[in-house]
């Protein structure tokens, strides 16, 4: 008996740990009333950049007030397919990228000109579906940020509309404004400010599928079915500049093929939501915790 109890406990533990995850579990339907087509104007001038408040300067530019949504990305794919901007290669949606200059630095990998992966259709986390002719969005995810998209897929989206990905400096200024705050809304973080790991939003269930994205602009001070959010816009009125999904930025640094992401995500602890926190990956990386937004010159 003494041996049976720990064995049963161990078996139950292993079974619980290996339980399959329902990636299509029901999603709360929420309307944030935030217009995802709006752009914010960022004025030219100096601001405090990075953890150590280095003074940096930008020109004037505009950036989307929310991440690009799944619906917006599906609309882009349909237009881009019709014009030949993207190609369908089996389960891969690809597009042309002109390549990067290669410096031969240790760990650097060549990014040659050619077709690169935008999104992968057979990824179980992919919320965009393709029936052979048309791209559609899995119901419920229309106003969620576009995820499982590579850097090339983000670069391609912005470029299609003659926009671009924001540089890291532009991204941080849009998130922080001109003071030294660590979070877009101020000095401290609460669970009602942003979607981060175990933040307790209505879209997560840490005992089963874990964290999921919240709709673009979710943390705007509204109450959703009893769940109270705090208005967590940045000084320029941008939403989700901390948490929800990491956002690809546009810099291509000499000697490295990595692309940088900002903002933290639904899967990271609050410390990674600080405006200066960085993450990076190869440009072909995609994940249900990575999205983007675009910028354009004013």
């Amino acid at each position: 008996m003494k041996r049976i109890i720990p064995t049963l406990f161990l078996l139950a533990f292993l079974m619980a740990s290996c339980a399959p995850v329902d990636l299509n579990a029901a999603l709360p339907s929420v309307e944030t009333n935030v217009d995802t087509n709006l752009w914010a104007q960022i004025s030219a001038g100096e601001f405090y950049f990075g953890q150590h408040d280095e003074i940096q300067k930008t020109g004037a530019y505009e950036t989307m007030i929310t991440d690009v949504t799944t619906a917006q990305y599906a609309a882009f794919l349909n237009k881009a397919l019709a014009t030949g901007y993207i190609k369908v290669k089996g389960d891969q949606i690809t597009g042309y990228y002109p390549g990067d200059e290669f410096h031969g630095v240790k760990h650097e990998e060549k990014i040659d000109a050619g077709d690169w992966l935008f999104i992968l259709m057979n990824d179980p986390s992919q919320r965009i579906k393709f029936d052979g002719t048309t791209f559609t969005v899995e119901p419920g995810y229309e106003n969620h940020p576009m995820t499982s998209v590579t850097w090339f897929g983000s670069w391609g989206y912005c470029g299609y509309y003659e926009w671009r990905l924001p540089t890291e400096i532009e991204w941080e200024k849009a998130a922080r404004g001109t003071d030294t705050r660590p979070f877009p809304w101020g000095d401290e973080i609460r669970r009602e400010n942003a979607n981060f790991y175990a933040s307790g939003d209505p879209f997560e269930n840490m005992s089963t599928f874990g964290s999921r994205t919240t709709p673009a602009g979710f943390y705007n001070g509204q109450t959703y079915n009893g769940y109270v959010t705090l208005d967590s816009a940045s000084p320029y009125g941008l939403y989700d500049m901390a948490g929800n999904v990491w956002q690809w930025t546009g810099n291509v640094y000499p000697g490295m093929h990595y692309r940088f992401m900002r903002g933290g995500s639904k899967d990271t602890y609050d410390m990674n939501l600080r405006v200066w926190s960085r993450n990076n990956a190869t440009p072909t990386y995609f994940s249900p915790g990575v999205g983007f937004r675009c910028a354009r010159d004013k």
């Binding site: 533990f13 292993l14 619980a16 740990s17 290996c18 339980a19 399959p20 995850v21 990636l23 953890q51 150590h52 408040d53 630095v105 240790k106 760990h107 650097e108 990998e109 179980p124 986390s125 030294t180 660590p182 979070f183 000095d187 401290e188 790991y197 175990a198 840490m206 005992s207 089963t208 599928f209 874990g210 964290s211 990491w246 640094y253 000697g255 490295m256 990595y258 992401m261 899967d267 990271t268 602890y269 609050d270 410390m271 990674n272 600080r274 960085r278 993450n279 990076n280 990956a281 190869t282 990386y285 994940s287 249900p288 915790g289």
Partner: protein
């Protein structure tokens, strides 16, 4: 008054008392500050602790706080190892007293004022005292190097069962000396850039800059420093355990030269990271790590052989079962070398695998995933060193019978469950997608929390027992006050 004087004399005047104080202080810091991150933060415990103690947690200063926190804990661990060395290895009494006094003042000053500065508002006098504490520890290190000088005839090894030169110079003492000397030099590789970045208020964590293609000499120096200091603490505890177990014979004669060679080459490689040798530094490091790890393996083979031999000596022909039973009969003697073996699973194996598959696997993942592996395996190594110290401490305080079994096996099982879970957590991306990981993560977190939680509870019980003992007139402390570890080296 005599009551207090006697206790203070034990706590600060005897080896076992000094070790008890350091373990107790580490336990307190670990218990309180462990509640500021991970699952405790998720459950809201962090917010309660921050309010309760009135901690000042400025977001931009997190990295600086963490650096001071782990230096505070590490300095206490260094102090414990130093107490063990001064009690195990022959040296002039003047050095022993001086080293112990200086390092005690050093690590306590570092811990109290460092943590006060980091977490309770920025009183710059406290920061100065924190640096002063670190300087005292450095001074104690220099004195230890002098005290361990092996070419003094007084300290030659007369017994041919141990590794020694033809003239009788004790090779084990040279290994201790080389490790102490390189530790002191390697400390400078942290002190110089530490002053540079500290004075510019630009603290950073090394794991956050790993992928930058170009790093400054100061940044390389920090990276080298943190790697080598932990490796040297691990090498030193291996030597200490070898001395406690009375490692000798043929394997000792092979192991000690390997240990000396490994320590010196390993250090040269790590120091090379901050020099133009950087492109080949890793090859030098691997060259140095190999003999060091071989020496640890020889200690393991010897000690397991001895445990089996001693435990089956009364039998005419022992079966495999009887040999295994003899091997694991005493968890406090079996445990340290078992943990060294287990370390290959949690630290060395992971490190080597990462190095081999870096560009093909780990550098394809996001930087934060790679960071989990890096920080995970450093933490695992630190925890293993801590458990080895605690296993030895269990023997020092004379645990016997069931208490010895419970304490020893508790330490081994709880820590190994937690560390195995940490290792699987680090490597999870190899076999599970991000979107499907939550049940596995929950299971692993539970295993880590249960393992570490029970381990801390067990440590707390021992600390409370020792505290109660201090109030007894003829408690165990009265016996320990005069004991030296060298008297308790196994025959």
């Amino acid at each position: 008054m005599q009551f207090v004087k006697n206790r203070l004399n034990y706590l600060f005047g005897s080896t076992k008392g000094l070790i008890l104080v350091a373990i107790a202080l580490i336990a307190v810091v670990t218990a309180v500050w462990g509640m500021l991150s991970g699952p405790m933060a998720e459950m809201g415990v962090r917010d309660v602790v921050v309010k309760l103690f009135g901690m000042d947690m400025v977001q931009a200063e997190r990295e600086g706080r963490i650096i001071i926190l782990y230096h505070s804990i590490a300095m206490a661990v260094v102090a414990i190892e130093t107490y063990m060395i001064t009690s195990l290895i022959k040296m002039k009494p003047f050095f022993k007293t001086g080293i112990n006094a200086i390092i005690t003042a050093g690590y306590i000053t570092t811990m109290i004022f460092g943590m006060s500065f980091a977490y309770f508002g920025h009183n710059w006098a406290f920061h100065g005292l924190y640096i002063f504490g670190l300087s005292l520890i450095f001074l104690a290190g220099v004195l230890l190097v002098i005290a361990l000088w092996p070419w003094n005839k007084e300290f030659y090894q007369p017994d041919k069962d141990y590794a020694r030169t033809k003239n009788g110079v004790d090779l084990e003492r040279i290994a201790f000396f080389a490790t102490a000397l390189t530790t002191v030099i390697s400390a400078l590789f942290g002190a110089v850039p530490g002053s540079f970045f500290g004075n510019g208020f630009e603290a950073f964590l090394a794991e956050n800059i790993i992928r930058l293609p170009e790093k400054t000499t100061m940044q390389y120096s920090i990276i080298g420093h943190l790697h080598i200091m932990l490796a040297l603490i691990a090498i030193m505890i291996t030597l200490i355990i070898g001395r406690w177990l009375n490692f000798k014979g043929l394997l000792h004669k092979i192991a000690m030269p390997l240990m000396i060679l490994g320590t010196v080459v390993l250090n040269l490689g790590v120091w090379g990271v901050a020099t133009p040798l950087e492109p080949i530094a890793h090859q030098i490091i691997y060259t140095g790590a190999t003999p060091s790890m071989l020496a640890a393996l020889l200690l393991l083979i010897w000690s397991w052989g001895k445990l089996i031999h001693d435990g089956t000596a009364h039998l005419q022909k022992a079966t495999i079962g009887q040999k295994i039973a003899a091997l694991v009969r005493d968890p406090l003697k079996f445990g340290p070398t078992w943990q060294m073996l287990f370390m290959n699973f949690t630290t060395s194996g992971i490190g080597i695998f990462m190095a081999i598959r870096l560009d093909k696997i780990f550098r394809v993942w996001p930087a934060l995933e790679e960071r989990i592996e890096l920080t995970g395996h450093w933490h695992a190594l630190s925890a293993i060193i801590a458990t080895i110290i605690l296993l030895y401490y269990g023997d020092m305080i004379g645990l016997k019978g069931k208490a010895r079994q419970l304490y020893g096996w508790g330490l081994l099982i709880f820590s190994d469950i937690a560390l195995a879970a940490v290792t699987v957590f680090e490597m999870k991306r190899l076999f599970i997608a991000e979107a499907e990981q939550q049940p596995l993560v929950n299971g692993l977190m539970l295993a880590m929390d249960i393992g570490l939680g029970l381990l801390l509870v067990m440590l707390a019980i021992v600390m409370v027992w020792r505290l109660i003992d201090l109030f007894k007139k003829k408690g165990r402390w009265t016996e320990e006050v005069k004991h030296e570890l060298s008297e308790e080296v196994l025959k």
